[in-house]
Amino acid sequence: MNKIADDFSSENIGSFFIYTNEAHPGENYPHLTSIGQKVTHAKALRDILGVKRPILLDVLDGPCHRYFGSMPNMTWIFNRSGIPVYKSDWTDANSVRNSLEYLLDVVKRRKAGVRLAPFTVERLDYRESDRVAFYKRLAENGPKAVEEFRKAFGE
């Protein structure tokens, strides 16, 4: 997602990250109980996991996150008027890139004088699912996070 931000910035595409609740709290990164802790975790996301996009914080009980459906790692694309033009319940760089290329083509066609009307489409996209990498990442949160995930999904 950092690369997408870099690749599309020259096309006047902004990229932000909104920090949410902890999806898999563990001993190293427990559930949030204060804004100060939320800031600390968000800085770890930037400094340890390398999120280079500007990170913004919702308040502690996450009204912005909850308004958009509270999924642990979702992505939305908005136009300048604050209208969502893409929403995905999971973040996948290929899906986002595909949508941005489509949206930029819409802009190009409109500039060329083509009259376009919006419509809604649903599509099932596919992301890579690397369980080894996922569990390795989960372990960084602490053993509790791994154990709870295994129990929740019977793995």
Partner: protein
């Protein structure tokens, strides 16, 4: 609300109630605005950041 949203255990009874993507705003409809803060504590808003670019990608997530 704060305690429930920031659940302390990843168990279905605590996290499933928050997974409501099916109730999220519809595409093509204007959204509500929300206050947001950067990591230095400067206040902004969702509408303000969306107004900066022709399109804006917003990813939601956490360290964990």
């Amino acid at each position: 609300m704060t305690d429930f949203y920031n659940y302390d255990e990843f168990i279905p009874e605590k996290f499933e109630q928050w997974l409501r993507f099916d109730q999220s705003p519809a595409l093509g409809k204007k959204i509500e605005n929300f206050s947001l803060w950067d990591l230095d504590g400067n206040k902004t808003s969702l509408v303000d950041i969306l107004d900066q670019s022709q399109f804006t990608v917003v990813e939601f997530g956490s360290f964990t």
